[in-house]
Amino acid sequence: MTRKPDVLIVGAGIVGAACAFELANAGLRVAVVEERFTAAGATGASMGHVVVMDDSEAQFSLTHYSQTLWEELHGELPPSVGFERCGTIWVAADEEEMAEVRRKCAYYRERRVHAEILDPQALQQAEPHLRVPLAGGLLVDGDSVVYPPAAASYLLERAVASGASLHIGKAVMTLANGSARLADGTTLSAGVLINAAGKFSPKLTPGIQVKPRKGHLVITDRYPGTVRHQLVELGYLKSAHSLTSDSVAFNIQPRKTGQLLIGSSRQSDVEHDDVESAILSRMLHRAFEYLPAIASYSGIRIWTGFRPASPDKLPLIGLWPEDQTLYIATGHEGLGITTSLATGKLICAQILGQPAAIPAEPYLPSRQFVTEAHA
């Protein structure tokens, strides 16, 4: 590297990749530094569900915006990225959940997201392998799935094609005041730094309130036609809500290959990446409740990953108050893949001092200094 880059990004996960993609496209000189390899962290473990969520206006705004960006991009994505607009069906097990379905439908429709309520018959037609009886569901057909490692790779390739440089296998020890000191003793300087290091971000920037939330996933052998949409139980929202307790929620994804990706689980305060039987068992049993057929399916692999979670369920996207050269792009919890592209746009807009398509305030890291941290 001869001239100092404008931006140095730490982390070649989907968020770092999306930032590199946007910034390089905007004509900035970008360097990405990654300790292991592209998508080695949460990105490589994640499901790759691109989904519009309604937990809060801010979450809706970010996921919806980002989903439109995925739509705009999808035509140029190579087959390896496996982009498929299979849609999501939020599954309701009882009348209480159906009430939630109706509320959700209204919410989405008000904001011009296409959603359709499915009664039990329509649900069964849409997904014949779901158990009966169920109360119904909500089909959001604009949602999609991608294969996250390939997506991150693609975004980085595009960034490199626009002049970005990639430094793989380099660990960053300190990141502050316009420079990054690497483990090998060298120092890289840049106009601006971005901490997109996922669960490692607090190590680089002490004070970031991001904690790892462990998840388990199981992938099966090929059973094409079992499931057509990403299926998520409404209880998922409760599971994603709670910051402390361990929880599971039915969440299954059909891959283009015909394999089924079975999730989901959440645990806080666990650092080791071992597969844990108790929660795995709960997760699988929950899945069998909705899709009894998969109990006899061949499970090929189990793995775990750590979602970087912030206390208020919104990511940190923006300047770090203590260091005018340092931007933070992390804390996306289970929505990293979905909101990666929007994160890139927001960061780019902030660095260039330009207006963004959506308000950036809810995601600014400075909010972590204003209010008391929640447990």
Binding site: V275, S281, A295, S296, I300, I302
Partner: protein
């Protein structure tokens, strides 16, 4: 849903090949309550597949008889998918087995190293041990034309077996050169029984030309194999045949040992003189400790079985025998080392990963096995990298070093019923 069966044993032996059978018998005869698990329909492993009648080795009958006359609980058709801290989990057709053990003996054997070359995915391109297993499992071979290719005494053994079952073994292509094999001869002279065995095998396969400096370059055919292109002394010739059986060394099955954090050095499980691994209470015998074939497997199995059941006196009596066998094994490795040309057979569009149809070129561009898996999806299929990973180690020098449960695909219901541990510490009962 499946039934869950829970049992307690003093010693659990995983793998019912010669090492596992010898270990189980030794432990049972020393008074332990023993379980012997294997995912094949019957004990015997590869070498003794099909039982005493289908094996040329007189020992097969002896050991299989001893096994059936012993108190060992044989659980055939039962696939172990994880073990930890005194408990193992295995799946059979309709049940999940949860077995508590005092001591564990890993006798998981070896599988063939498959080296990719154009056409290697055609039906009827098989392993050398593979074709023998298939014939023992009922595949008619009488009158079929077979080309054997690869390296080592296994080729002779398979050629002999196939010939005796009526196959027309067109040739045996040994990739090692004559001079390389000559270097081995003095070492072998110290073990006349080995020389005699080799001569016997050669006699039994005498109708098949034995060609050194020869290896397969490509396989051709439409829906199945029709012919093989072989390089012989720098010249290629095409041979029409029904089967191409390749045997390029054996790869130890280390998945369970790795999942249990047993130390693996230079590609084999480290064991002490009593076959105990770096994890106390876990023993390992046979091919995973070093590829050596039948004799070392039986001795090591016996040592492990005696040691695991507390019968150290009987174990000690076998130590000297084991040491001698290890020297033969080392000499063999050098004699039949794989030549570098074998790493260049694959073209860029030759498949490396057969489960996911990933090409050599798409896998190779990555810096490590982990990156290749994630990005090319090589090794992400049901074989969990058993075929492509072993090939990648030879072709690219990658290290395939981690292993996670389930070490074989099993039903999701089995995964749900299992009791995998919660932490690395719990994996080893608190001791690290």
């Amino acid at each position: 849903m499946d039934s869950v069966i829970q049992r307690n044993f003093d010693v659990a032996v995983i793998g019912a090949g010669p090492a596992g059978i010898a270990a189980a018998v030794a432990a049972a005869e020393s008074g332990a309550r023993v379980a012997l698990l294997d995912d094949n329909p019957a004990p015997g492993g590869q070498i003794w597949r099909g039982g005493a009648k289908s094996s040329h080795h007189s020992q097969a009958g002896h050991w299989l008889d001893r096994l059936s006359n012993s108190s060992v609980s044989v659980l055939a058709g039962t696939r172990v998918f994880y073990a930890h801290n005194g408990a193992l989990e295995a799946e059979s057709d309709d049940s999940l087995w949860q077995i508590l053990y005092g001591k564990l003996i890993l006798a998981t054997g070896a599988r063939e190293l498959f080296l990719p070359f154009p056409g290697w995915t055609l039906p009827n391109v098989v392993g050398a041990g593979g074709i023998q297993a298939m014939v023992k499992s009922g595949l008619p071979i009488n009158g079929k034309r077979v080309v054997l290719a690869g390296t080592g005494p296994l080729l002779l053994a398979v050629a002999a077996y196939l010939s005796e079952h009526g196959a027309n073994v067109l040739c045996i292509c040994e990739q090692a050169s004559f001079s390389q094999l000559c270097a081995f001869a003095p070492a072998l002279a110290a073990f006349p029984s080995k020389l005699i065995e080799a001569a016997q095998l050669r006699f039994r396969s005498r109708r098949a030309p034995y060609i050194m400096n020869a290896w397969p370059v490509a396989a051709f055919g439409k829906e199945r194999l029709q012919s093989v292109q072989v390089s012989e002394n720098q010249r290629c010739r095409e041979i029409e045949c029904d089967y191409l059986a390749c045997g390029f060394h054996l790869v130890p099955n280390l998945e369970l040992a790795r999942a249990l954090d047993c130390r693996v050095t230079n590609g084999f499980v480290e064991v002490n003189e009593f076959q105990e691994t770096s994890q106390p209470g876990i023993y390992c015998a046979g091919e995973p400790t070093g590829i050596g074939g039948l004799e070392p497997a039986i001795v090591e199995g016996r040592i492990a079985g005696y040691a695991a059941s507390g019968n150290l006196n009987s174990a000690k009596q076998l130590l000297a025998t084991r040491v001698r066998y290890k020297k033969v094994v080392n000499a063999m490795k050098k004699a039949f080392a794989l030549r570098p040309e074998l790493a260049t057979l694959a073209k860029s569009d030759t498949l490396l990963c057969r489960c996911e149809d990933i090409s050599f070129e798409d896998a190779r561009k990555h810096a490590s096995w982990r990156a290749a898996k994630l990005h090319s999806r090589c090794g992400m299929g049901p074989c969990q990298g058993r075929v492509c990973g072993a090939a990648a180690e030879f072709l690219f020098g990658w290290t395939i070093d981690s292993s996670r449960p389930p070490i074989f695909p099993v039903r999701c219901s089995s995964l749900a019923a299992s009791s995998l541990p919660s932490s690395p510490a719990q994996r080893h009962g608190g001791s690290q």
